[in-house]
Amino acid sequence: MPALLVEDLVKVYRGRRKEVVAVDGVSFRLEPGEVVGLLGANGAGKTTTIKVICGLILPTAGRVEVFGIASHRRQALRHVAAVLEGSRNVYWRLSVEENLAFFAGLQGIPPRKARKRIRELIALLGLEEKRRTTANLLSQGMKQKLALACALVKGTELLLLDEPTLGLDVETSHELRGLIRELAREGRHTVLLSSHDMGVVEDTCERVVILAQGKVVTDDRIDRLLGLFRTRAYRIVLSGHLPPGAAAVLRSRFPLLKLHTGDHETTLEVELAPGYDFYELLDHLREAGAAIEEISRAEPDLEEVFLKIVKGEK
């Protein structure tokens, strides 16, 4: 049984005047133990999808199941916890401990068991010194950690994280990434994470589902996606400068070529569209009398891949 099954999900918001199709036939699934990124531009439908999964929004059509239970039924909530985007998620008037105890209780966890879990989570997140501090006095990063802890304290198998690192500094963001990886390694959690920060996604997820205008445009492993784009992008370093004539010839032959001229070297970055021959490029360089110092495949990062996919280049 998949941890999460989304099948032909459609969500239409009906306003007074117009309708907004926020999610338009989305299907994907998460097996237990997977960590998957949910990507997409602003308004692509990520938050709507996540809220349907936690039962906060009723779908217009389609099937969404959490461990086999329809997500709009409250029983599904025994298996899901979420950190939601943009909202506070925790009670600012309660202390760190009180927040954790409240959410554990709300989930129906007996106090004795909850206390043990709370102690562990506070240690795990390094919040020992702030145990009795009310949440409004915590820094942004600590608040976000507390929100994550409040989701974790429920002990659910499926965890939904909508923009968990928004507004965090680099260090805290890295700390949180480490934590998410840790959760995944234990294998007890299945995580669906949405983020605009590709570093976070690349660091934590094995697979991404990319949405554009409410539809799934890609559902693939990150390493495969990177591989797909890697094969055609090359970076060539030449010692010295190219004669101006040669540069012009190259540019006209390879319109996608990028040329950086440094003090002592020239760097070419070129993405060879299908049909362009790598040898042809080298022939041009030889004719120009260029000395090649280094050839490497320019490593595409997830951000470039994402942008290309969303623009429909692949």
């Binding site: 409250r74 909530l77 979420a82 909202s87 209780g105 709300l106």
Partner: protein
């Protein structure tokens, strides 16, 4: 069993907030006491005409004011809580309780009843000291009557809570309701239609217990039955309204909005 822990978590949060922000509690109490004093002094100057408004006597005024205070808390606590949670951005997390939102709402009003009980006890003591009228406080008779009387108001509270989920800004509506409740408390429960409305009959029966010292089992069974039916009717109606509004809010994606 696990429902019990959820219930306790919700009630405990209310108690923590009560304890952590004593100023809110005390200023609320002071405001109500001052309102009572004004009515009391006004009644003294105007004479019997003023007190008759709240019943037959000064005791009637105290009982009426007590029920009114209770009623205000009963219908507005849940709605305020929902509005505040929507504003603060915690409503969606609260909603994600695996026992359901209606369970959370029920637990919330149970907690609200307990805190009101504390609050109103203090107010009642102040009112009795001010007027010099000592009322009968037979809790065994009083608590069941209070619950039955307030059941209808909790029904109204569920309904306004539901409206708050969908329409968010309904504070003005609340203020109007406060005055409607004054009317309902003061309305003599002599006619069948007065008995069919919330609060009126209950206030009358509570007054008989507190003023005349009559016990629950000595009250006319028919009146008690009507009160029970009245409470159940409004309670269920309100619960249904909450359920309907909750669906609309989930359909339109309004739970996280304010």
């Amino acid at each position: 069993m696990s429902r019990l822990w959820a219930f306790w978590a919700i009630v405990r949060r209310q108690l923590i907030e009560l304890k952590r922000y004593p100023f809110n509690t005390i200023s609320g109490l002071a405001t109500l006491y001052i309102i009572f004093l004004l009515i009391f002094l006004g009644a003294k100057f105007i004479g019997t005409a003023g007190t008759r408004f709240f019943g037959e006597s000064l005791e009637g005024l105290v009982v009426g004011f007590m029920v009114w205070t209770f009623a205000i808390a009963a219908y507005s606590d849940l709605s305020w809580a929902l509005i505040r949670e929507a504003q603060l951005g915690t409503l969606e997390q609260l909603y994600m309780c695996p026992f359901g939102f209606r369970f959370v709402s029920l637990a919330w009003i149970a907690g609200s009843f307990l805190t009101s009980l504390l609050f109103v006890s203090v107010l009642l003591a102040l009112m009795m000291a001010t007027t010099g009228k000592v009322l009968h406080l037979n809790l065994g008779s009083l608590l069941p009557l209070l619950l039955l009387t307030l059941a209808s108001v909790y029904g109204v509270g569920f309904a306004t809570g539901g409206l708050a989920l969908v329409f968010k800004r309904i504070q003005a509506f609340f203020q109007i309701l406060q005055f409607v409740f004054v009317g309902l408390v003061a309305l003599p429960a002599n006619t069948w239609w007065a008995k069919a409305l919330p609060l009126s009959l209950g206030t009358k029966l509570i007054a008989r217990v507190m003023i005349d010292g009559i016990r629950l089992r000595d009250l006319p069974a028919s009146e008690l039955l009507v009160l029970l039916a009245n409470g159940a009717f409004y309670f269920l109606l309100g619960f249904l309204a909450l359920w309907g509004c909750e669906r609309i809010a989930r359909q339109r994606g309004l739970l996280g909005h304010y």
